[in-house]
Symmetry: C5
Subunit: 263 residues, 5 copies
Amino acid sequence: MRMLQATGLSLLLVFLVGLSATAQAADREKLLSDPGVFGTFAVFAVDDAWWRLDREARAKVGEEIKGVLDKHGEQVVADLYLLRGLSDRADLMLRLHSTDLARHQHLVLDFLATSLGRYLHNVYTFHGITKPANYVPGFSDDLKAAMKTPPDPGPKPYAIVVPIRKDADWWNQPQAARLEMMQEHAQVTTPYLKTVKRKLYHASGLDDLDFITYFETARLDDFHNLILALERIKENRHNRRFGHPILLGTVCTVGDLAEVFAR
Amino acid sequence: MRMLQATGLSLLLVFLVGLSATAQAADREKLLSDPGVFGTFAVFAVDDAWWRLDREARAKVGEEIKGVLDKHGEQVVADLYLLRGLSDRADLMLRLHSTDLARHQHLVLDFLATSLGRYLHNVYTFHGITKPANYVPGFSDDLKAAMKTPPDPGPKPYAIVVPIRKDADWWNQPQAARLEMMQEHAQVTTPYLKTVKRKLYHASGLDDLDFITYFETARLDDFHNLILALERIKENRHNRRFGHPILLGTVCTVGDLAEVFAR
Amino acid sequence: MRMLQATGLSLLLVFLVGLSATAQAADREKLLSDPGVFGTFAVFAVDDAWWRLDREARAKVGEEIKGVLDKHGEQVVADLYLLRGLSDRADLMLRLHSTDLARHQHLVLDFLATSLGRYLHNVYTFHGITKPANYVPGFSDDLKAAMKTPPDPGPKPYAIVVPIRKDADWWNQPQAARLEMMQEHAQVTTPYLKTVKRKLYHASGLDDLDFITYFETARLDDFHNLILALERIKENRHNRRFGHPILLGTVCTVGDLAEVFAR
Amino acid sequence: MRMLQATGLSLLLVFLVGLSATAQAADREKLLSDPGVFGTFAVFAVDDAWWRLDREARAKVGEEIKGVLDKHGEQVVADLYLLRGLSDRADLMLRLHSTDLARHQHLVLDFLATSLGRYLHNVYTFHGITKPANYVPGFSDDLKAAMKTPPDPGPKPYAIVVPIRKDADWWNQPQAARLEMMQEHAQVTTPYLKTVKRKLYHASGLDDLDFITYFETARLDDFHNLILALERIKENRHNRRFGHPILLGTVCTVGDLAEVFAR
Amino acid sequence: MRMLQATGLSLLLVFLVGLSATAQAADREKLLSDPGVFGTFAVFAVDDAWWRLDREARAKVGEEIKGVLDKHGEQVVADLYLLRGLSDRADLMLRLHSTDLARHQHLVLDFLATSLGRYLHNVYTFHGITKPANYVPGFSDDLKAAMKTPPDPGPKPYAIVVPIRKDADWWNQPQAARLEMMQEHAQVTTPYLKTVKRKLYHASGLDDLDFITYFETARLDDFHNLILALERIKENRHNRRFGHPILLGTVCTVGDLAEVFAR
């Protein structure tokens, strides 16, 4: 630690970012595409007192967080997001994937035991599980084909989390009625498949939600138009909760976080 | 105390866990199955300041909590849950059972007077009472038989608490209409009887709830599907409050708690 | 003060309890049964910092509170309740009765100026006024007779406060329609007259409530069944707010409070 | 300052009260009766830390507040209210009248820069504007005559603020329908004109309200019955928000405030 | 820095205000009128602790904030508003315009890293995007002409932000029905075009809103009447959220802010 500090913080950050890019490569692809995987979104706000610590006390943020992610890296895929500056009352977010929520608990406990963690308030935690597509098999062939449009390559720096709860009418109607509405849903979203990546988690019972919807994009105007299109369809009448909060942040590395919180 | 510390914290923890397993064995079975028993769920969040105390000041957590539980152990069955890392804005939960709520008050007062307790905020307290099954006598024989499926053996590390309030329409309809809906309720839950243990508390008047539903499972995917099944039936139209909050944690021992809070 | 401390805290407490039993006897009966009397329920949560004061700084709680109650004792009847350990986010409650709310303000100002008071947050204050029974004169003779059942003698250690707000439909319907519903209300409550004492305060305009309902009982199971019975009648459709919060505590003396807060 | 303290706090208070009675006499009558005047209700809760300052640090409250009110006294009429002890989570209220809200902002900024102000949280601020009576010209002559009943002389120590928001149906119905309901409103209030003084502010757009209703009375029982009468008329069906909070306090002088906050 | 302080705070402030007037002139016009521009409203409340710092620690507010705005001035147009004294629980607001939200995040991160920023709580952040007028092309020619009325010249010191969310019915009706309602909307606003400047941001998906409406005026009575007119039309039935909060403040310079926060 001493030596690292001596070589300068900026060097350390480059070093950490490099490491974190390789350390979790193992099963990331699989955990991020398989059904039956648990996803946790843990959102934290930092206490004011943190910012009044002297710089030295805050300097080891990067190293400590990297230590926590590495320790659990074989089993839990962790993504980091900087919400500070874009979302009120929230500063950073962890997205975790693994096949067992207890592993997420252990990781978060270790995260909260770091120097920074002792100053964090866990303002939201949402859990969901991934499942095979529910309605897609019933869609028209044209729609199925359109939905295979791959996202454009290139960085998608913005991430948005929208928690959703449906009303009792939604769940009490027959599957065919839901299928029809979800087909309309899928149709209006196809124009945005190239620029807005999406991922869906089923949450009923694991939190006060039915779904967690997660988005990544470089085009927030497209994302806005996508949500607007979803407001204009029948399904919207069954959204008892849509957002509250909508969490908007930027994908970041341990190094980015360290830079912000060690300022 | 001094000596225990000298022998090392880990030894102490093994020791405590061993003790706590035997100390409350007395009437646990009975209190957890009888009607007419009060159940209290007291949920606490720890103040930031706790984590900034030096390690020594935090080291006696396990011993002190064990002392409180032992003191009341003849009359109150206490279970501990670690919510930290899984539920936002909440760190730990006590579940208490006895035939008199005043005993729960005394236990909680003692708990809050420990070193840790002085840093705890009591963010939720729910009370309920157990009663003989209300609707089961009117169910079909097949359903009654199916409902006798015993839970699979083995540990069920996850615990979930879902507070529920029904609307005025629910309570104002005739018992026969409620019976029909509860029969549908029971039917959709039978596939999960092996993997999800449930316990029901009646809460009207004791808190801003009508029911506290408590679940234990090793299979959070089954628990999720159980709740999803309950969303799809008519009864769901009468849930004015379902969760808010849903509390998700892991069953733990005094030793586990001590390990986390003395870090 | 010094001398009292020298003789031991427990002696002081016996002394205080003895005194408080006689000091307010004057017009208690009358103020608690007359119409036209104001009732105030002031609920407080103690700041964490209180528990970190040394014991000596906290030792004079009993003496100081007794001083405040005595100072106002000729005009204000004060009852104390311990909510800590039973109700979340609330530690103690004052119930005050007199013919003038300004007296309650003066008493609370003095209470908040004690050593303990400086660490209290006033989380709820509800005000109501007692009035002659509104609907009883229109009830059937049988019901009127049944309602005269006196409560069983003996201590009723639990107190519950349920704030209520009716909807606009309730207030806009003719008195006859309300009378019919209130007759049903009275009928379902008669089985509980022996074990659950009740008192009603009218609150419209004095707070965001229409009624404050206050209960004392030794039988929380009966109280639960009473509330359940009230949920099953038509009147329940007109409760825009019922509880939120329901406050549950135990009747206590200055000595009890002092014991808990001076720990 | 030194000298004033030497002459004793009580003398200072008498002195201040005397001064404040004359200092703002200028245009008070006019500003409190003209249309087109802005009214601001700024409500503050004092931080716990204030009460732990030593007495000397708190002694200059009266002098400082008087200084602020005098500085702005030519343009802003200020009234003070003590909410502490009667309303939860709020300790004092300023009511300001002038022809320009910016003047209220300057006064509040100065108020918050006093020793006490630095410990105040501004928990509510409501703004409204006075306007000529909207519906009265359309009332029957009898009602118009009845409405001219002057309030009884004598002190009216209690003040109550009730913020109100109407629903979209209210605003979308024709003026004639609103007139009919407001005539009913006026009729049921006439019995209380002698004992309850009222003042109305229009707030749409200036805050999350449509109206601020302000009351002064010595008879809280009459005020309660007035509100009850208003709940029983059709207009009540269109109150989307009525209160939340209802603020109840006592009219006070700078001296009264100083006495309470310098304790 | 040293030297500036030596020349006196008042001189510094004049200097800063002068600078800030020219520094951002570059693309302000374009960013404030083009479609496709992101607008961010970031609202902050200052922690009590700030006011207890000594004056010297607070003296560099102006210089630091100016440094942040200058650093980002080529890409982000920033406006400042003083909410303190007019809006509860909020002290200051930044309005930012640029073509990329990430720039707003960087600016806010730098702002929060100033001496003052370390004591700020980010209580609200709303984001929106500007778009070409949606309904205007379908309006009558008369209305289109009326809508071209330019605002009166002269300062408009008050700024008001009203966040709005429409209901599912609004979005699910055909464009023609929305056009009709928006034409009515436009008509009732024309009388206020001279005295109330307006700007609209589309927010769906970027926050828990559909629109952010921003107003500037010197005539708060006109602004009030404008909002009242909008309450009286059909569109109001589709406002699920209108305000909550309405933010009311005064346009200010860095110098004004510095003067208030360095007091």
